[in-house]
């Protein structure tokens, strides 16, 4: 049982180290290379795209151990009774197997209680294009990328809020 516990502990430690290594890799996103693409040259024009990156990550671990389930007093008491008894007479303790001649407690009693462990993690990432940088010999142009879907969603949210406010205003005016 101790060997199993040690193996589980070693595996848990290894997993935690891997998780911490992954978290450290997360912070490499905070570099300019993560938001600007490699320059692409075509037809005398060099294009670089720019995007917004949003990344989050979290991990958690838990581990527990266990000890003998039977109380020590109970185990010592049984052992003492077995020691003082006739070594040739088998003592039948109530609810337990007969004690051994060496005076030890019955086999199977006092087994280690269970142990537990667990770990988990989660994360999310999103990217959104912001602009396209166009470089020619004449100069540099920065052209923004407009996400019509997101703007439309925000617009409808605003319309809904406006409707809510107008409804309340009308009720207030009636009263």
């Amino acid at each position: 049982m101790n060997e199993t516990f040690e193996q589980l502990t070693a595996t848990s430690v290894e997993s935690q180290e891997q998780a911490i290594g992954l978290i450290e890799k997360l912070f490499t996103v905070a570099q300019p290379n993560a938001v600007f693409s490699e320059p692409l040259t075509t037809q005398g024009r060099t294009i670089i795209t720019a995007a917004e990156i949003n990344v989050g990550l979290g991990v958690g671990f838990g581990f527990g151990g266990g000890t003998a389930s039977a109380s020590m007093e109970e185990k010592e008491g049984k052992g003492r009774r077995a020691m003082h008894a006739d070594p040739h007479e088998r003592v039948d303790l109530e609810g337990t197997e007969p004690a051994s001649e060496e005076g030890e407690g019955s086999p199977g009693e006092g087994a280690d209680a269970g142990m537990g462990g667990g770990g988990g993690g989660g994360g999310g990432a999103s990217g959104r294009p912001i602009a396209v940088i166009s470089i020619t010999e004449d100069g540099v142009q920065v052209e923004p990328v407009v996400d019509a879907t997101k703007i439309a969603l925000a617009f409808f949210t605003a319309v809904g809020s406006m409707f809510f406010m107008l409804t309340k205003m009308r009720k207030a005016a009636e009263h």
């Binding site: 720019a50 917004e52 990344v55 989050g56 940088i133 809020s161 205003m169």
Partner: protein, 97 residues
């Protein structure tokens, strides 16, 4: 030697310079990195490009049109919702009297 890790980092960084003819373009980004005990969060966005031609230097900001439009519209929504909520609370307090 242990490396001190900042829990909160808000910084502007410059990327690799791209040279086209006599033009040098250096992109700039701003990142926010928050370090938790068992995790982290990073927000990184482009802010500007630095253009150099000879002795002439120019900074071109990168405008996030979508973000500005969304912030404006959501701000308007929140403002109208607050006004409506205040009017509803006044109406309710008036009816209680």
């Amino acid at each position: 030697m242990t490396q001190e890790k900042q829990r909160f980092k808000w910084q502007k960084m410059s990327g690799d310079t791209v040279t086209v003819g006599d033009l040098s373009v250096t992109p700039q980004s701003r990142s926010l990195a928050i370090r938790f005990p068992r995790g982290g969060w990073v927000l990184n966005r482009p802010v500007a490009v630095l253009v150099e031609r000879g002795d002439e230097k120019r900074r071109i900001p990168i405008v996030d049109v979508t973000r500005i439009a969304r912030l404006g519209l959501y701000g308007l929504s929140v403002g109208m919702a607050v006004v409506g909520l205040v009017m509803w609370m006044k109406e309710r307090s008036g009816s209680d009297e």
